[in-house]
């Protein structure tokens, strides 16, 4: 599995976890174009924080990669890219 595929899997699994806390209409679609931060963001800031923590946990639990999301991201695609870069750094 390439790091892009791994990053996508991690982010989508984290979205699943966050969606457990959201009503059906508020759930985050698993779509790279979805805006997570800034204008037109689909989730409130606390859920964004939950998503960050979930991404880090899934990465560690499922892929044994200890990563830390530190850069700002705007969309699901940005987040996947950042996770991919961090996985690359992990080697």
């Amino acid at each position: 599995m390439s790091n892009v595929e791994k990053a996508t899997e991690i982010v989508y699994a984290a979205i699943d976890e966050v969606n457990n806390m959201l009503a059906e209409k508020q759930r985050i679609p698993k779509d790279p174009s979805i805006v997570l931060y800034g204008q037109n963001a689909v989730i409130p800031s606390l859920m964004l924080m939950n998503l960050v923590v979930a991404v880090e946990e899934v990465s560690e639990d499922e892929h044994e990669a200890e990563i830390s999301i530190t850069k700002v991201f705007h969309s699901v695609k940005d987040l996947i890219d950042q996770v991919k870069d961090l996985l690359d750094e992990e080697g």
Binding site: N20, M21, L22, A23, L46, N50, V52, V53
Partner: protein
């Protein structure tokens, strides 16, 4: 139109938005609407009795704080300062007083116990040393809080330690704490929601009451029809056998809380019963079961049949079976029956069983302890009843109804019966103990409890009838007319009506009236009143007290 959801107010010293989101979106019944104050206001609301948040009239409050957030002296202790134990406990007293005040404004208050994160080693080998260790103080604070809240019948201290333990090292999230003032991970909050909802269901009388067990590879290891009872895995020097014995012990333990047992198994009945009676290490015996269906028919039909015989609703049932196909079949055919996923490995059965959050009740009474025995006695009565006509059978039962007014010793059981009885219930009025005491405090209102027994055993306090004549005039109104399904058809209904009419006569009323309020479940009550000899106008049934109400046949009334 469906009833609005109950409202739950969360009071905490941390950011409880995640907890609130999980509580709101949890599919377990009942659905709860959330009242979540702004971050940092939880303790203020707890301590300010007339805070506007209470105007929202929450049905339930859930108080969850960190020990260092709620008890300043504990924070000082963690900072290495000297703190006197009495000062610490005095703060716990204040905290308990706030909770007891909240208990006057909500139907019930749930409180999470205080926990410490796994990484806090504290003073290591001195951590339990009296007057010194952090763990010592935290334990003492929790016990002190439990004692201070213990007398309140609508306050429940929940064991948060278990929630954290279940999630393990991921239970505390420093990142969530520093980024969002959320101390716990969602795994911990999920466990809290499960316990909270189990508690609410218990208060609403929705706890499960009947466990239906499969036998082969569930109650015991092996297939009795193939292996023979002598070769089943039950006890012995065998991990699978020991696990089954432990599972049976855990199941037997809940019968002491009033949970009733049944069997649904595809087997030859004689072969299966021989195993239950003869295997030397079997914990569950024939007399532990209120009924069974052991045959080769569809399990869902068998369960429906058994539940009808025991006189409970399907929503009271839990079905445990190792076979996923049988579980799926029962889930599909009987959606009201709760069918948990079951471990593949028998060594995990006892743990899986103990984790079921289905049997929580707000108090345990002597009647609960005896309920399983009463159902077994009922099975024996039914066996004797076969072939006899109703009057002959009733005449042989030597039924006694011991009538008492509401008093300190029967209040708790009365409230329990009031809040969980659905079928023979005239108005399905639900009250807390405090609300009931307030209601009965008005002159002209009376409530009687009925303890029923017959020559086969004691049913306990199973009937309630209350009459309101507080406004005087021509009419005395029956307010509560409640009878446990265990004693349906034994002329206790007539006894209760007789008491109500006698009271109306003694107070000078001209008629005694019962207004039937229909629910989804109380049709048996309407059927009784329709056949009671009362005059009916719509949903109102009346008895003209000029005509004495005949005393019930076959029931000896003992008035205390």
């Amino acid at each position: 139109m469906s009833e609005p959801n109950a409202k739950c107010l969360i009071l905490s010293d941390f950011n409880a938005e995640n907890l609130g989101a999980l509580l709101t979106n949890c599919s377990d019944t009942p659905a709860l609407d959330l009242l979540l104050p702004d971050f940092g206001r939880g303790l203020e609301i707890l301590f300010v009795g007339n805070h506007p948040m209470w105007d929202e009239k929450p049905d339930y409050a859930f108080v969850w704080t960190r020990a260092e957030g709620a008890i300043k002296a504990f924070q000082k202790l963690l900072d290495g300062q000297d703190v006197k134990e009495e000062d610490l406990l005095a703060e716990v007293d204040d905290y308990a007083a706030g909770i007891l005040n909240a208990a006057k404004k909500a139907r019930a208050v749930f409180v999470a116990s205080w926990t410490a994160p796994y990484y806090r080693r504290g003073l290591g080998m001195l951590d339990y040393k009296p007057g010194v260790g952090y763990t010592y103080f935290l334990t003492k604070m929790n016990l002190h809080l439990a004692e201070k809240l213990g007398a309140a019948t609508n306050v429940f201290l929940l064991n948060a330690e278990r929630w954290v333990q279940k999630v393990g090292t991921k239970g505390y999230s420093p990142k969530l704490w520093y980024m969002g003032k959320v101390p716990f991970s969602n795994g911990v909050f999920n466990e809290a929601v499960i316990d909270l909802k189990a508690g609410v269901r218990g208060l609403l009388g929705q706890a499960r009451k009947l466990i239906v067990l499969d036998l082969d590879n569930t109650t015991w290891g092996g297939i009795v029809g193939d292996d023979g009872w002598e070769n089943l895995h039950v006890g012995g020097h065998d991990p699978v056998g020991e696990a089954h014995v432990d599972f049976q012990h855990r199941v037997k333990e809940v019968t002491r809380r009033g949970i009733v047992l049944g069997i649904s198994s595809k087997n030859e009945e004689s072969v299966a019963m021989e195993a239950i009676e003869k295997h030397p290490e079997m914990v569950l015996r024939k007399d532990d079961f209120a009924g069974w269906r052991i045959n080769w028919m569809d399990k869902a039909s068998n369960i429906a049949d058994l539940v009808k015989e025991i006189n409970l609703g399907l929503q009271s049932v839990v079905f445990l079976d190792d076979n996923p196909t049988e579980r799926a079949r029962v889930r599909e055919a009987l959606p009201e029956v709760f069918v948990p996923e079951w471990p593949k490995n028998a060594l995990n059965y006892a743990a899986a069983f103990q984790e079921l959050a289905l049997f929580d009740i707000p108090a345990i009474n002597p009647e609960d302890r005896k309920r399983a025995e009463m159902y077994v006695a009922e099975r024996k009565r039914s066996e004797l009843r076969e072939g006899a006509d109703m009057s002959t059978w009733l005449s042989k039962l030597e039924i006694k109804a011991e009538v008492e007014n509401l008093n300190d010793s029967n209040q708790q059981r009365t409230v329990q019966l009031l809040n969980k009885t659905n079928q023979m219930n005239l108005t399905t009025r639900r009250l807390t103990q405090e609300e009931l005491i307030d209601w009965i405090g008005v002159e002209g209102r009376s409530l009687w409890t009925l303890k029923v027994s017959d020559k086969y055993g004691d049913y306990g306090l199973t009937g309630i009838v209350s009459v309101d004549y507080s406004e005087g005039g021509d009419t005395a109104s029956i307010v509560d007319f409640i009878l446990s399904c265990r004693v349906f058809g034994k002329n206790i209904e007539q006894t209760m009506l007789h008491l109500a009419v006698q009271y109306g006569r003694s107070m000078g009323a001209k008629q005694v009236r019962a207004r039937y309020l229909e629910t989804k479940k109380n049709k048996p009550c309407r059927t009784f009143f329709e056949n009671s000899g009362m005059t009916r106008e719509g949903d109102i049934f009346s008895w003209d007290v000029a005509t004495p109400h005949p005393p019930p046949e076959f029931v000896q009334i003992i008035q205390n």
